[in-house]
Structures are given as structure tokens and as C-alpha cells.
Symmetry: D3
Subunit: 276 residues, 6 copies
């Protein structure tokens, strides 16, 4: 995708960009995003009318670990040599190496999550084995991998500390496909993923957050964290029915108690954050 | 369900009942049931002609943990406002709160397992998130949850120590459904679940035991435990073919040895139990 | 379901009722409904916020034929004899015959569609074979059958002229289930079906229209029929792009032409209808 | 797709092109292609190493009818308004109408088959209802429709004489998607479809033949037709085992008989064809 | 399978045998079996404790047509050349042709149904295309085909008048498999099929009747035909509830009427049959 | 299977055999095979044209553990008593015990993996519960279990230290099947398994290696281990793009470095191995 188009289609990005135009959500927001839950993201995005940003149905490599990073997108399509030959000539003419999975992998940056459309392919739909998974871990600083397709060498990969979401596992290498795009819009399940989206994966699935909503998602999440903390504290007291406390306290005195708790805790959180 | 109906339809219950008529399997039997396996329950129920008391195909929250408790049943159906409006008016007329998931959850008792028919719904089919899951854990003393539907906030829920069986996970809240029954007969998979059934869940699936069979299931299980203990002991000796020992020993001397072992161990088990 | 409850829960019904309280959409509206398409029904119901009235995924017996009639609902659940015995005693005490599929079938009225919840059961989930299908055809005057379950003897049934929608076919008879309700609210797929709903089935699936919306659905459909007639007429002229004509004509002169056509044709349709 | 790119990526096209660069397989070859079977196409393409040109798993509207035409491709992706807004502005800047399904449909030419990637979407994944299906039939001269998605108003559509292949049917209109490409490479199942591919659909599935192979496929098919004609004639004589005749005759005399038959019939076919 | 084994394992066969030992259900019984329904077969076989003789889930080539014939079984397994090479050498040593699908097809007899285990294979799992399907039709006198696998060239095959049941259709030829048995016991779905079983296929699925039960199935079916004839006649009178007539008449006078009808009609049927 | 046939069909076996003719891959090679990955096996077998030796889609009992052993195969088919009675008589005549799962289990040897075709059966398709699983563990010295079918008593089994691969879990015991072969060729998924194949299972699935390829697989795997070791070491240095190192180093100096590393490490590995 030409840089100009990438910048155009991500015009609402409020942050810096990589040299190729891809939005660059700042590192400190990526760190804060490690505490997000799928529900907190859902709440903000659905309010904005963004109902297609969540994909699930993956096998999750390390279920206890959260994945956070900037989307680096790659698209494959079923191979047909008349089209692939032209693409390879065009790449060569631009001085690029032969188009294949490593072409994209060699462009990864720290903080990236590699997001790959392999259209659910299993046999010969394996984006990486343990060697390239290891390389990706090094290059992205354990950013992560989402593939609508497969991986190979699961035994080796499961010993490497990087989050990964994949549809299946197969012993065959990648084949019978052609690389048709790097950092272009791609589809993963029911999501249109844009390069530079903030990718957040938990045990349930993967959210792709447009950069323009990252700050708001994080700020709302602070409130939700405090809300849940207070709610569970009250439940632990064993004096209330759930409906007296949750979603919001019905008794005005409890409501006030909550509001004060919320205010105090948010201040503490912000203080603690800025002191880092 | 009117108390009278509930009592009628569970007429074979040999135990006490809750004020609303629901059978109350005693606490000590619930404790003993923690050692049950699915096979031990199957053996007694199939002999009685009860072949529809087992449901599987769930995601299991804590696979190593056994779930045991009394069924507290809840039924939802797809929403249509003409019907739901009438139900809400009827509830209001009886002084009940607005009918929703929390209405049922606020009625849970220690030792209950919340069993919910959400007809396999995923999107907007989430009976609880982590706050209400935490409340349920408190209210039931870690009884458990079985939902033919979804939960949300799996990351949060997986840190809470209560067994749970669910079909799927989704970030959306519950919606587009109406509550149509609390402690009524419901269907979970191929099982008709009655309020007060003893619910036993292991790694494989969930059994719903009618109260009238609980004592017999437990007593037979004592024998099976001893049988399996002895069988494995003999196998560990390495002197026998499996068919010489299992299902029952073919050699009369081994048969006698087993009968004596069984008798002795059952006595020990009962002694140990009564001394608690 | 007691008559009182049935009347309460269908309070918005604007038509007569059967002696048991079930709404009775008039015969002439049933006749008009034979020309409805799924899309026309969808348009009115979604505007009312009724998004759960459509079920599909059935095998359709006679794909070219439309099914229209009043819902007569029947519910089965997995058998457990402790519950079934009580239900049978209660039925006997009321002077009813043994509860089974024929109990319900013998209550069918002309114009009814038999709608059965057999929870998707295939083996032993067959509501009728060719004899009872023939009886149902006679009793309902070819009303129809919708079963979330199976039928048996498809060869024989396919020669009988009544619409039917079913999930599967099996040679076994019905068994291992218990009848738990006649003319109660039941769930078919993602629909809560109420007794007396107008059932409309086409090649795509089955709509369940609450009686209070039947008149409006039919009136709007008249307009849609004229709209589609005019649209295709204009397309057949070959002079227009689709977007000049459909959804509505962009050119004011075409708009006027359409409005006049609509008015004239609606008058013709109504005249023709009243002259019958 | 800019015309230049479309011409580049279809550089092997031996035929004329449409003004936008799309290859234009000649009308007479389209006519001849009506007699092709999936196996005849498979034989030529696999020999060329093109193993990804066949898609199946569709519902077929008129199973007895063959579909033949030039691929007119359309791509949709899940909607996200930040991206769609930019695309709409860009379209507007070029003087194009609002991007939606009708935008593409209004560009169809006689002999086209509309090939649409709606990523298998059912609810709100309906490319046309009966009005636009009728328009497409008029515009393409009954070319055809292939959609990896749904259609609506099947009752109406099934009365219209144009071949169609679709995944499902739903009463909802298209929605929650954005148009992302017209006459771009798209993926349908395991096929990368290029604009201008010759689309051939039978009872089994749909083949997408690159223009450069159309002539050879047709010529080989002539031979296969004669081969099958002769093979069945010999089988009908009842004197031979299948292996004496098929794949090719083992007896030299039969081999000679076949070669003479083949030569004679091919001449007849070509004569007959040229005399038209 | 050596003839001796085949005779041993079908020892209960009451009829003649083919030279290779395969049971030969007589032609006149095959003719009578054309009127059987799946339910009639089910009734006899389940009473004998044979619950695994029915397979479904097939695509049916000509749904209105009944298939009846003697099972000629063929087994394929996934290819591995070390095993296949030995099998080919053994075949050669016995003077047999190279083992492949045609080897079996060339052995078919009039009245046979070709029953093939291709373990559900689709790609390269196609037992026949239209040429060999035509040959099979000739050789078996339109006996039929059941394949747990695929066929190719459906367009051509659907014009040939022989019943066929298959799992899928694919353009590829058979490959990557090895022939491992002709007229050996094979598994089709949940059925162990023996060579010489009477195969009966209708719209629902396929029954495999052991020869020793054929006579009884046919005789019971005569009664069932009369029973259904009488039942529908009574229903058509419109005077009875279904439960007064079906399963059997409750009123002694109706019972007597039925018994007389049954006796008379059975005599007529037998007379008519013997006069042929 | 007669010994003679078993020896014939495994003629390429380079190792000793068990008394019944089954190939016996030596114990030291079994030990070395514990370090194999699926990819290493795939590389050798596909080069030999053996593309059908891998099965997946199992539930894996202990995902972190590798399974290695010699295939001991068992085949079941759906029960039909006419066939089973003959088989039992034949077994009895040979002095064998009643044919059932334990008949085969009692024949297991140290180092065996029990491989069972139960055709995917779940209910009554359970080859072992915890007692027989324990026995199998003792008899095979924790060899392993692969069943295209089910197990029962998962809770008990998961505490026993032996690898196992199964399709499902059910509380019912094995039933409604008949044992039709011990140490015969069987099909597991898309694999023809021969008795004596080396079975290797990891997190992904199970490979069945013909004995004649075991030595070569192991030797190539040594190289691959060194290759991956070196590749990751270079990646860890962080100085190279993945394509400079992997699949093989592009720079001649790196190539030389690698070759020297490979030579040295292979020597070390062999020395270490021989010193054991």
C-alpha cells in the first residue's frame, strides 16, 4: 500500500507514524493496555458504533498471558502463477526480495503484532515454525502473532515466550499461496484490521482498536477497574444482594461511598502511573 | 413454578426441602459426592432406566476441580416484548424486582449450582461477567455454574475459585433474551434438569442426579472405589493379565481375596466417615 | 397452560380466540398471507423491534409451496420417569388421555400449523410418520408442520400435500422423550413461539408473526408487491441503471409515475379482494 | 484497481479488453463453454499447475443449468466507519456515486458473471433480493451470480432465469459491510479470482479459468466429449469389461477404431461449428 | 476374502450363492423389496437386535427412486507404497489385473449394488465419473452405488438412470488410495456391510439387510402396507381421532373391521403376486 | 492376520520381529525418537512419497509429553451378531478367549502403543476406563494409547502417567461393537497404520513411521536439531534478518560457519550417544 493511501485511510490516528505511514501508538499506552479486558474495550467501541473489531475462535498459545502491540498486517491469497509472477517482477523492480513470509517478517519492529490473513488454511497454511517464531519474538520484543491460518512445530513454539493466536497446527511448511500485501487492510474473521491498530488479546479472543480510540479505552478502563474492585469488595462483605451493588449502587449512600472511592482510587492510579 | 407443583414433580425426594419446595440434598452427602466419578453415577442411573441425566460439550473453567451442589435452575427465551411486558407486570404485581439475570442470582443459597438455559447463545448470551461470577461464588460458597450459553470476562473469572461449565465466551453483556423461569424444569443438552437435582461435574461433563438416587449412588461408589483400588494394586504386582482381575477376578481364590478386601475396606471407610 | 395465562400473555391479540384462549387470526387474513415473502415480514417486524421471529435451517418438504396457519405449539423434553409419572397422573386426574404425540395431534384444528419443540432430536425424535402426517393434513386442512426434530417415513410423507419443515429424518419412532406442554410458549431456533402466532413458511425459513402485527404486515406487503412489480417493469425496459429506480426512483418524474402507479394498483388490488 | 494494474496482472490475456482493462473472452468461446464439465477444466488446469481455480459448497439456484460468463468481481469487508468514510470521500472526489452493492451492479455488462466476496456472511450479507437479481439478469443477459455470502427473497429469485451460486439465504438486507473493491483480485473459497476470468458453473461447483487457458480447455474438451461418447457406445454394446475400453482401449484394434472415430467426430464437430 | 471365509461369515444365508460364495438373494425378492420403506425394515431388524444396519447423510442422486440390490463391497485405504506394492505383487501372482477401482467394477453382476468404503474422502476420493457410472449401470442392470466418498462429473451422472448415494462431488479423479478388499466386510457409517446383504435405499438413507431376514422383512411389510392403507382410509373419512385408529384401533368393532380388511387384502396381494 | 501375511506386508522392515511377525524397532531407536518433532518426520516421509502417515484432531492427555512406541493395532466394527458369532466360534476353536477389548490389551508388550480403530465412536466407544488404562501403562511401560474413539473416566486417567490421544470422553462402557482384528492394517484418520510402525505423538498429532525409515528420520533429525540450534543462536545475536540465516545462510562466510558448527555438533552428539 502506498504510504499516501495508508496515511489517508488512517487519517484519524492522533499519534506519530512509522516512516511507511503506519500509525504508532506510543509505548506507554501499549504498557497500560496490558491491563485491559475484552469487556472494557467492547464498551467503548460499541458506543462509537464499531461493532466489528473483535475476533475469536483461535487456539491461544499461552492462555494466561495478555498480548498487546501494533498491528503489522500481511495478506496471502491462493497461488496462481500468472498473478504471482507479475507481483514478483514488480517487487524485483522496486529492489525488494522475493515475496514470501520472510519478506514481511524481516520488516517487523519492536512492539509489533504480526497479523496474517491465510484464509483459515491448515495444510501448507503455516506462517511460521519454531525458528521464525523465535525470530519474530526477538524482532518484536515478544509482541505477538495472530494468524487466520496455521503454525507448525507447536512443541518448539510452546517453549518460546511470545503470545500467539492461530486456527490450527500442521507439520507442512507454507506453500500453494502468494503474498499479496504487507501493511494493507486485511480481514481476520469479522474484523477489518488496519495497519497500526492496537491489538489486544486475552483468553477470549483478540480486539483490534483503531488508534483514535486507544486513549479513551484506557481511561474508561481505569474507572472500570476501580468499579470492579469496589464491587467485589462490597460483595466480599456478604451483606448485599448483587442488585444492590451492581451495575451501580441503588442506595444513595452506597452511591456516594462509591463515588468517593472511585475519585480517590483514580487519583492514586494516576499518581502511581506518573511516578513511574 | 408454584411451590405445590415443584413439590409434586419432585415427590420422590427423600430429603428436606427449601421453603420454596426445592429438594435439599443434605450437606454431608454433598461432601461425599466430591469423590464421585461420572462412571459411578452412570452405573446406578442406567440401571434405573435414567439415561438422560448427563450433559457434556462444555468448556470447563478449572478442569482439575470437581463441582458438586444442588441445582438452582433458570430459564431464558429469545425476547419478544409482548410476552416480556406481561411477565414483568406479573412479577411487579407480586412485589418482585425486574426480571433479569440478577433476579435469579440474588436468590442463590450456599451449596447451590446455578444451572442456566440460554439455549446455546453466544453473542448477548453471557449469564455473568467477573463481578456477578464473584457474587455467585460468595453466595453459593463456591457451588458452581452450568450455562448452556456464554460467560464474559474470562480473564477475570479464571482467577476466581468456583467451578464453571459454559459453551462459549463473548465480550458482550446479556441481552435480547427474557427471563421465563426460576427453579422450573429446564433442558440442558439432552437432560431435563429439575430444581434440587444433585449436580456433579468433572473433567468430562455434568451429571444431574435426582435426589432419590443420591444415597444409592454414593454407597455403590464406595464399593467401586475399593474395587478400583484393589484392581490397580493387583495390576501393579505385574503378575496378572487384565482379564484375570478385571471386571471381576476369575480365579475363586482371587475372588475370595477381593471379597475380603472389599469388606475390610468398606468397614474402614465407614468408620473413618462416621468419626468425622 | 391455563386459559387465563394464555389470554394474558397474548393480550395484544386483536382477533377472536379459540375456546382454550388461543388467538384466532381470521381465515381471510390467512388466505392473504399466502402471498407474503420473508422480506416483507422482516421489514415490519424489525421496525417494531421484534428481531427474533424467524427460524431457518430446516429441510423443506415441498419447496415451491408456501405454508400459512395458526401456531399450535407442543413441547417435549428428554424423558425422566420421576417427572413423567407425575405429569401422566395429573393428566389422568383431569380426564385426559395418556400424554404423547397423538394427544396433541388429536386437538388440531383446521388452519393450524403444528409447531413442535423436540430440541433437534433425530434418533427417536420423529414427531410423525406417514400415517400421522396424513391425519395432520386432514385435521388442519393442509395447514402444516414445523418440528425442531425429525420425521420418519419420508418416502410416504413426500406424496402427501401439506407443507412441512423438519431438521432431519430417521427410521426410528418417537421415544425417550416426554410431552411437557400443549399450546405453551416454546422455542424454535432463536424464536419464542406463542400459540396463535401466524406461521408463514417459504423456501428460506419460517416466520412467526404475533397476531397484533398481521394486518399491518399484510397491508405493507400490498405496497411492496406493487413496488416490486413496477421496479421490474422499469428494469425490463432496459433504460435505467438499478440505482435510478431502486430502492426508490431518484428522478422526480419517475417518482411521480411510481406514486400514481402505486395508488392505482392498490385500488385495483383492494377492489379485486373485496369482490371475492 | 487502476487500469494499468489490471492490465499488468492479466498480462497473459490473449483476447480484447473492456475499456477498464478487464479481459474480454469472446462471445463465441463463451457459447462453446456451455458444454464444459468440471472434469474437463480440471484436466487442463492441473496440467498447468493451476490447482486453486475451483470453488464448491454453494447452494445452486437452478441445478440443471450451466453458468458461463466473464468474472466481474466485487469485494466487501466488515464495516468500520473510519475507513469507509475515507473511501466514500475518495469515490466522491472521482465523481462516483456512493459506494454500495448497486454501484457495482450498475456497471455490469452482457456476458458478465457477478462474483462477490462477502466473506461467507449470512445475516446482512445478502448481495441482492429479487429486484436487483432481476436487474442483474437483464444487465448481464442471464450471465450469473456467485456470492461467498447470501441472497434474500429466494422465493422471488427462484422464478428468475439466471444461474446463481450462494452460501445461504436470509431475510435481512445487506448491511454492516463496506465496499472495498470493484474488479480487483478477490478470494472465493480457495480461489483467487481475477476480473475477466471465464466463470463456469455446473451442479458441482464453479471453475474460474484464466483467459489464457480458455482456448485449450475448449479444444481438449472436444476430444473428451468424443472419447466419452465412444466409451459409452462401446459399454452399451455389453461386450467389454470397463478396463478394456476405459481410460483408453487396450486392444490395438480397438485403439485404432477409437482413433478413427475420434478423428471423424472432431471433424464433424468443427465443421458443424464453423457452419453456424 | 477366501470363499471359505465368506461362506463361514454369512452362514445364516438361506439362499443360493455366487461362485465366490457371496449370498444371492433371489431376483423375485429383490423385486418385492422395491416397495419397502425404511420404517418397515427398521421394525424387523430392531426386533432381532440388529441396530446397526442403517446409514444416512448421503447425497441422493435420484430422490424419487428406490434402490434395491445385492451388496458388492469394495474397500480402499489411504495409500502407502510399501503395503500397496506387496498387494499388487500378490494380485499379479494370482493372475489378477492391477488393483484399482476398475478391477472391482469389472466384477459386478446384474442386481448388484456397488458399496464402497472410501472413508469419506472427497478430493481424489471419487469412485467413478460418468463413464464408469454408465458402465456400472449397464453391468448391474441399474442396481446402484453407495460410496462413503465422492463421485466426479455429477452433470453427466445425473442423466444416467441408476440410483446412487454419495458423500460429496469433486472434479479430481481417484488417487492417493489403495484397494484393500473386494467382497470383504466393510464399514459404511455405523454399519458393518457384508457381501450379499440386501441393500435398500430410499429418500432417507440406506438399509443393509442380512439375507436371513429378507423374507421376514418382506412379509411383515405386506401387513404394514395394508395397515397404512386402512389407517389412511379411516382418517380420510374424517370421523375419528388419530388415537382411535392408530397404532391399532381401540374400539373392538373397528379392530374386527381392520382384521377382516387385513386378511382380505393380504390374500389379494398374495394372489396377485403368484399370478405374475 | 496370519504371521505370514504380516511378514509379507511389512517386508521392508530392517529390524527384528516379535514371534507373531510384528516388526520390532529397537529400544535404543525408540529412546532417540523422543526428541523428534512432527516437522522432522514430515521432511523425510514426504521426500519418500509417504504423505498419509500423520493423524491429528485428537484430545491429548498430557500435552507436554512425547509419545513413542511400536504400533499394536486393534480394529472394531459396528456389531452384528451373525458375523460376531462366527468370529467368536473361530476364536474359541483356536483356544483364544472371548474377543473383546481385554483380549487385545492382554497381549501388549513393553514399548507398545495401543492403536485402536473405533471409527470415531463416542457413546459405547470407550476402549478403556482408568483400570484398563492403568493396566496398559504397566504392560507397555507407559508406551501410550491412540484411539479413534473414546475413553471413559477421564478424571482417573489424567492422574496416570502414560500418553494418550483420543477423540472424546464418555461415561458409558464399550459396547455395540465387535472386535474384528488384532495387529492387522487399520485406518486412523487419513493413515493406514501397520503393526510395528513407530508411533510418535506430540502436541500437534501422531506420526506413524514405517520401520524402514526410522533410522533415516533419526539421523536427519540430528542435523535439524543442530540447524535449529545454530539458527536461534544467530537470531539471538540480533544482527541478522531472518532471511540471512534461515532456511540456510546466504553469506558464504556464514554458510561456512554453519557447516563447521554442524560438523562439530554432530560429532559431539554421536560421541555422547555412544558413550551412554
Amino acid at each position: 500500500m502506498p504510504k499516501r493511501d495508508l496515511v489517508d485511510y488512517t487519517a484519524q490516528n492522533p499519534f506519530d507514524r512509522f516512516p511507511d505511514g503506519r500509525p504508532k501508538v506510543p509505548d506507554d499506552l501499549i504498557q497500560r493496555a496490558r491491563d485491559l479486558s475484552a469487556e472494557e474495550i467492547w464498551a467503548v467501541l460499541q458506543a462509537k458504533g464499531y461493532n466489528n473489531q473483535y475476533a475469536d475462535g483461535f487456539q491461544v498459545l499461552h492462555p494466561g498471558e495478555t498480548m498487546v502491540g501494533r498491528a503489522f498486517t500481511v495478506q496471502f491469497m491462493p497461488s496462481r502463477s500468472d498473478v504471482d509472477d507479475v507481483a514478483q517482477q514488480k517487487a524485483k523492480a522496486k529492489g525488494m526480495p522475493r515475496l514470501m513470509n520472510q519478506t514481511a517478517i524481516d520488516m517487523l519492529q519492536p512492539g509489533d503484532v504480526l497479523v496474517v490473513d491465510l484464509f483459515g488454511k491448515k495444510v501448507n497454511g503455516t506462517i511460521v515454525g519454531d525458528n521464525l517464531f523465535y525470530y519474530t519474538m526477538q524482532a518484536t520484543h515478544s509482541g505477538g502473532l495472530v494468524v487466520d491460518g496455521a503454525i507448525r512445530d507447536l512443541n518448539g513454539i510452546s517453549e518460546i515466550d511470545m503470545p500467539a493466536y492461530f486456527r490450527s497446527v500442521d507439520p507442512t511448511p507454507i506453500g500453494n499461496v502468494m503474498l499479496t500485501g504487507i501493511n494493507v487492510p486485511i480481514r481476520i474473521g469479522e474484523v477489518t484490521v488496519m495497519p497500526g491498530d492496537l491489538v489486544v488479546g486475552d483468553r477470549e479472543g483478540v480486539y483490534f482498536i483503531p488508534p483514535q480510540f486507544v486513549q479513551e479505552v484506557l481511561d474508561k478502563a481505569d474507572e472500570t477497574h476501580v468499579h470492579d474492585e469496589w464491587t467485589k469488595k462490597k460483595f466480599a462483605e456478604g451483606k448485599y444482594k448483587s442488585s444492590e451493588i451492581y451495575g451501580s449502587p441503588s442506595d444513595p449512600k452506597l452511591q456516594q461511598e462509591y463515588q468517593e472511592y472511585l475519585k480517590r482510587r483514580l487519583e492514586e492510579i494516576r499518581k502511581q502511573r506518573s511516578s513511574k
